[in-house]
């Protein structure tokens, strides 16, 4: 089996609005796949559906060979929510140790994850006293610990300084090299080039599902930002 995630005709409604309109895609194992699209396009909704916390209207999602949200997946899938979801009244280390314990990992694993996100020096600091960027890295540490089979990361690099951002991307590729499948979202196109595959989403529909090179080629430009624009325009003309 080569696909980690298979989404078939996924329809999701939130409030009274249809947010995902029959989305279909396939994400290969061991890859770094970027989910890119403007704010409000449905990235978070798709990721919530993949980790099984989103009520879906219709369609199917298979994750690592099981229906999304199935109990055995809970120890195989790491999820980083868009807003940092760690306990503000605990230290970074206490947060990491708690989430490690839930999945059966020891304190050393927690410690390593904290170091991996560059928070070793802040490990005994209360999350409430961290900067915004540090807080989201604390949250990231709790998602990556134990090197899960699938990592679903919702805008992990927002608000990080460029050097750290670069390090985080290197780590994602390291993890993927060891077999972890990574689905990572972003609303800034300059991160798209770092992914092996791209899912471009707009208003709840996919407008591209390909490698960055193929996206560049089909749009006829090297600039991914421009490519995204051209693909949207091309779609609007045919629609």
């Amino acid at each position: 089996m080569t696909s980690a995630i298979e989404v078939q005709d996924l329809v999701v409604e939130r409030g009274k609005r249809r947010v995902l309109h029959g989305l279909t895609c396939m994400i290969p194992r061991g890859s770094v796949t970027g989910l890119l699209g403007p704010s409000g396009s449905g990235k978070t909704t798709l990721m919530r559906a993949v980790v099984g916390v989103q009520v879906v209207r219709s369609g199917s999602i298979m994750v690592l060979g099981e229906p999304a949200g199935a109990a055995p997946l809970r120890r195989k899938v790491g999820y980083l929510t868009q807003a940092p979801s760690v306990y503000a009244d605990l230290t970074v280390r206490e947060n990491a140790r708690y989430f490690a314990a839930l999945s059966g990992y020891d304190a050393a694993t927690a410690e390593r994850a904290v170091a991996d996100v560059g928070l070793a020096d802040a490990a005994s600091q209360l999350v409430a006293t961290l900067s915004g960027g540090q807080r989201s890295r604390a949250s990231l540490a709790c998602a990556i610990l134990g090197e899960p089979e699938l990592l679903v990361l919702d805008e992990p690099t927002v608000g990080q300084d460029p050097v750290l951002r670069d390090e985080l991307w290197k780590q994602f590729h390291d993890l993927a090299g060891k077999g972890t499948t990574i689905l990572v979202s972003s609303h800034v196109m300059d991160e798209a080039g770092r992914c092996e595959r791209l899912l471009l989403i707009r208003e709840g529909a996919l407008i591209a599902d390909d490698t960055p090179a193929a996206v560049r080629e089909s749009a006829g430009t090297d600039d991914l930002d421009e490519a995204f624009l051209r693909l949207i325009r091309a779609q609007e003309v045919t629609a």
């Binding site: 980790v51 916390v53 989103q54 120890r75 929510t81 503000a88 839930l102």
Partner: protein
């Protein structure tokens, strides 16, 4: 449920509490101050003090743990930690029992300090044992936790959460038999009082006050309160949804 996950959750909740020194101090000091106030109010009526202080030893933990839990659980819901927890191997019961046991332990410390003060400093006099008073106080605290876990599902904000205190706790305090004994209430009030768990907790405390040895009524009342805890936890579990819109 898993012992490892439950244990980690209890430790996590207690750590959160311990980081908040002021809350810990208030948990311990406030009941003591209120008991002192009662003591001086009824300076010349020791019998009245005995009656009210005994009931208060059970009411404080109930009210305080209800409030603390409602806010703590609301934070889990609004901060995204609950959503994240439900994507991990943690079971709903691990979380609910985690809160029940962690805050139950906190309540045991609170009730022990309050009881020690009441008996030694303020000369509280009960026919039955102090240990039973503390046991009832802890069961009451766990009742407060269970109701707090359930009620937090109906609050979107912390302002709303604290408003559940007058809705859930105050009627139970008014009708528990402290102000008007239950058999002297109008029939319909007594009927309401009969279905409120705090009435049984207070009756159990009054049994300890009046009898040297634990009575059958006391055990029955504790059983009823325990049953209410289980019902509230089941209802709370039903409000925890892995999938949300």
């Amino acid at each position: 449920m898993s012992a490892r996950i439950l244990g980690a959750t209890i430790v996590r909740i207690l750590r959160q509490l311990l980081h908040d020194r002021r809350t810990v101090a208030m948990l311990i000091v406030v009941p003591a101050l209120l008991l002192a106030l009662l003591y001086f109010m009824y300076d010349d009526q020791p019998m009245v003090f005995d009656r009210i202080a005994l009931v208060m030893l059970g009411v404080f933990p109930f009210v305080i743990m209800f409030l603390v839990t409602s806010i703590a659980m609301l934070r889990e819901r609004t901060s995204g930690t609950l959503e994240r927890l439900l994507t991990t191997p943690l079971g709903k019961l691990d979380l609910l029992f985690g809160y029940g046991i962690a805050f139950g332990l906190a309540a045991a410390v609170q009730a022990s300090v309050a009881a020690a003060l009441a008996y030694w400093l303020f000369d509280l006099d009960t026919a039955g044992s102090t240990g039973l008073v503390i046991l009832i106080a802890v069961v009451n605290a766990v009742l407060g936790v269970a109701l707090g876990l359930f009620c937090s599902a109906f609050a979107r904000t912390e302002f709303q959460a604290v408003q559940f205190m007058p809705v859930v706790a105050v009627p139970q305090i008014l009708l528990c038999g402290l102000f008007v004994s239950r058999d002297q209430m109008a029939g319909w009030l007594e009927a309401i009082s009969d279905v409120l768990p705090l009435s049984y907790a207070v009756e159990a405390l009054q049994e300890v006050g009046a009898h040297a040895d634990p009575t059958a009524t006391l055990w029955r009342d504790l059983g009823i309160v325990g049953g209410c805890v289980v019902v509230a936890l089941v209802l709370a579990a039903a409000t925890l949804r892995r999938r949300t819109a």
